[in-house]
């Protein structure tokens, strides 16, 4: 029906009439079937973005479409796990899953939900309030996956899990994505956690989308260059040895500079090349972590969100 899992246009959310904007002017498009990482510092607006997509909040301005319709209409087909993994403390694990079955009468997959819970060796008769953080995460994920979502929104899903459980549950999620084409959107501030499993990136900072696109494309669009300061500073005699002096900044134009730093006689920079790079520069592809950190450290760097949401309408 549609190949867009999620798209936003001029999306903004402000809490309270006088409160600050948690999210403003967000535009992006996420194709279906991707595993998308939503990355950003604490308080960047990641949770707000996911809650808007899940239809739990009404946007202040703009809009977001989910699975080709509005979030409220897509509710039955979207799974969502909130950051603090809220569950009813007075219910047992088995009762929690029964709630999932009752509230999703046409979609509930008891087998999948039961498998995820039993993989954690959880006693179904145990009360939720007696579970550890990681065990609660497991039950919350079972509840979200049990409704056979086409889009799964996970807010910091792996934060409470031990490495073993993290690996196992990540495997379950990826298998789900591969088998049913489920789109998975997960937020985290630990980039390394997502690098292996995600193929799409949304970098949120200061309530805006800073980077959006396929991770490979984003990495390909950037280059980490390093060069000696004296050569690019022009033939002005012996270059100043003190790094970072404004006297001799190497000319990186016409490329878009995300971040540049001078250490000793060495200039390293992360740029978005606008053409061929100078020959005496050593260039390499940055890692995802380097890319994300460079953008987070430099809030003034121009955002790169190539996918226009208008494409979603086609």
């Amino acid at each position: 029906m549609t190949d867009t899992a999620m798209a936003a246009t001029a999306l903004g959310k402000r809490f309270g009439r006088r409160g600050g904007w948690a999210l403003r002017d967000c535009a992006f498009r996420l194709p279906a079937g991707r595993v998308c990482a939503v990355v950003g510092p604490n308080g960047a607006g990641k949770s707000t973005l996911l809650a808007l997509a899940a239809g739990l909040l009404a946007p202040t301005e703009g809009g977001v479409t989910v699975l080709g319709t509005d979030p409220a209409s897509a509710r039955a087909r979207v799974g969502y796990v909130a950051q603090d993994k809220p569950l009813y403390p007075q219910l047992t694990v088995a009762e929690t899953l029964r709630v999932g079955a009752d509230l999703n009468p046409d979609r509930w997959d008891a087998e999948t939900a039961g498998r995820i819970v039993s993989a954690g060796e959880l006693d179904p008769k145990k009360k939720i309030r007696s579970l550890s953080g990681g065990q609660r995460t497991r039950v919350a994920l079972a509840l979200a996956l049990g409704k056979r979502p086409e889009l799964l929104l996970l807010d910091e899903p792996m934060a409470d899990l031990d490495p073993l459980a993290r690996h196992e549950l990540m495997g379950t999620l990826m298998a789900r994505a591969a088998q049913y084409g489920t789109t998975i959107v997960m937020s985290s501030h630990v980039v390394a956690e997502l690098e292996d499993s995600c193929d799409h990136l949304l970098l949120v900072g200061g309530g805006r989308i800073r980077l959006a696109g396929e991770i490979d494309d984003l990495l390909g669009a950037h280059a980490r260059v390093s060069t000696a300061v004296s050569t690019t500073a022009g033939a002005a005699g012996p270059a100043p040895a003190t790094g970072g002096a404004p006297g001799g900044p190497p000319d990186l134009a016409p490329h878009t500079v995300v971040e540049s730093r001078v250490t000793g006689r060495q200039l390293t920079a992360l740029v978005r090349p606008a053409g061929p790079l100078a020959e005496d520069w050593r260039a390499s592809t940055p890692s995802l972590e380097e890319l994300v950190l460079a953008y987070l450290r430099n809030p003034q760097a121009a955002p790169l969100t190539p996918a226009e949401p208008e494409e979603a309408a086609v």
């Binding site: 809650a51 739990l56 509710r75 039955a76 969502y80 603090d84 219910l91 509230l103 979609r107 409704k147």
Partner: protein, 352 residues
């Protein structure tokens, strides 16, 4: 809108999915019904303890009332009759104050003001705690809309409360009416006015709605509990102050002496007529002495008669029904406001 279109759904484990697909073909009504039932069952599961406590309270109070009616009364009734036969005054004093009447009044007060507990439950446990913990979001992230969630959260407790309160009101009404001469306070007393008529039920339902609204406004359990109890208490206080004006009163006048309202009437005002105008500040017993002295005194003051304004006991039903209507209107307004607020907060399906 809500029922899943099977074509869009990813294929689940084969057998299960097939069952669902065939059922979907029968129409959306059935799916809606199953969702409604599933949601109601979830609400029952979540508030199991509250339901058990309520059921136990209703059974206990009703049992106590029946026991009062059956056993405790007989002895006292005999005593009262003996007292009456002996021609003593104030027979309800030694009998009523410490026996039947006291317990009956105690239960009556519990029934009349149980809406305060309902307000605490609705504001704190039913909605406030869910919003504070984020479990409300857990429910909204399932296949039901927030509006449907709120509907179930209101409807299931409303049913349980209506059933329980109705039982209490009917039993109390019967027990109170059976031995009215043993009760100390009359039909207008705090213990017997709300606990015998539909207004008692209206307050309970109104407390539920007001509690839900305050919880949605405040989004935290403890403040919502406090505000909701205070708000319903204030409402009950204000309505009780206006109660006398809910139905036209009866006024009796006399030119000779102070008028007494009939037995069991609810006297609202009495006083004297000064040149035909009602003056409640002047007591009918301002002038005393010999008849001639009193006459002169009255003439000096310009007192032409006496009056009393009251509701006879036959006004109980009209007064009850008007009060029920007023309180239920408040409940309806609170419910509508709660739905509007929830609609404003969460994303709703576009009409397109």
């Amino acid at each position: 809108m809500t029922p899943a279109a099977p074509a869009d759904a990813p294929a689940g484990p084969a057998g299960r999915r097939d069952d669902d697909t065939t059922e979907d073909g029968t129409g959306t009504g059935r799916a809606d019904g199953r969702t409604a039932w599933g949601t109601a069952r979830t609400v029952l599961r979540l508030h199991r303890t509250a339901l058990l406590v309520w059921t136990a309270a209703v059974l206990f109070l009703n049992g106590w009332l029946v026991r009062l009616d059956k056993t405790a009364t007989q002895g006292e009734f005999a005593e009262w009759e003996a007292c009456e036969r002996a021609g003593q005054d104030l027979c309800d004093m030694p009998v009523g104050w410490v026996g039947h009447s006291e317990w009956l009044a105690c239960i009556g007060l519990l029934i009349s003001f149980c809406f305060l507990a309902v307000a605490a439950f609705a504001g704190g446990t039913l909605i406030g705690r869910e919003l504070e913990n984020g479990t409300a979001r857990l429910a909204w992230a399932q296949g039901i809309t927030p509006a449907r969630w709120l509907t179930a959260k209101l409807a299931v407790p409303a049913l349980a409360l209506t059933a329980g309160t109705t039982a209490l009101l009917l039993v109390y009404r019967r027990v109170w009416g059976a031995h009215q001469n043993l009760t100390y306070s009359g039909w207008t007393g705090d213990d017997a006015y709300l606990s015998r008529g539909p207004a008692g039920l209206a307050y309970v339902l109104c407390a539920l709605a007001v509690g839900v609204l305050t919880a949605l406004l405040l989004r935290r359990a403890l403040p919502a509990l406090a505000v909701s109890v205070a708000a319903t208490g204030l409402l009950a206080f204000v309505v009780a102050r206006c109660r006398g004006s809910f139905w036209p009163t009866v006024t009796r006048t006399s030119a000779e002496a102070g008028v007494d309202p009939p037995a069991n009437a609810w006297e609202l005002e009495n006083g004297v007529l000064v040149h035909g105008r009602r003056t409640p500040d002047l007591s009918p017993w301002t002038c005393d002495g010999t008849a001639a002295e009193a006459r002169r005194c009255l003439d000096d003051l310009g007192i032409t008669g006496f009056y009393t304004t009251y509701h006879p006991e036959s006004h109980y039903w009209p007064l009850q029904l008007v009060e029920t209507g007023v309180v239920l209107s408040v409940a309806a307004l609170a419910t509508a406001a709660a739905f509007l607020l929830l609609r404003h907060r969460t994303a709703t399906a576009s009409t397109a």
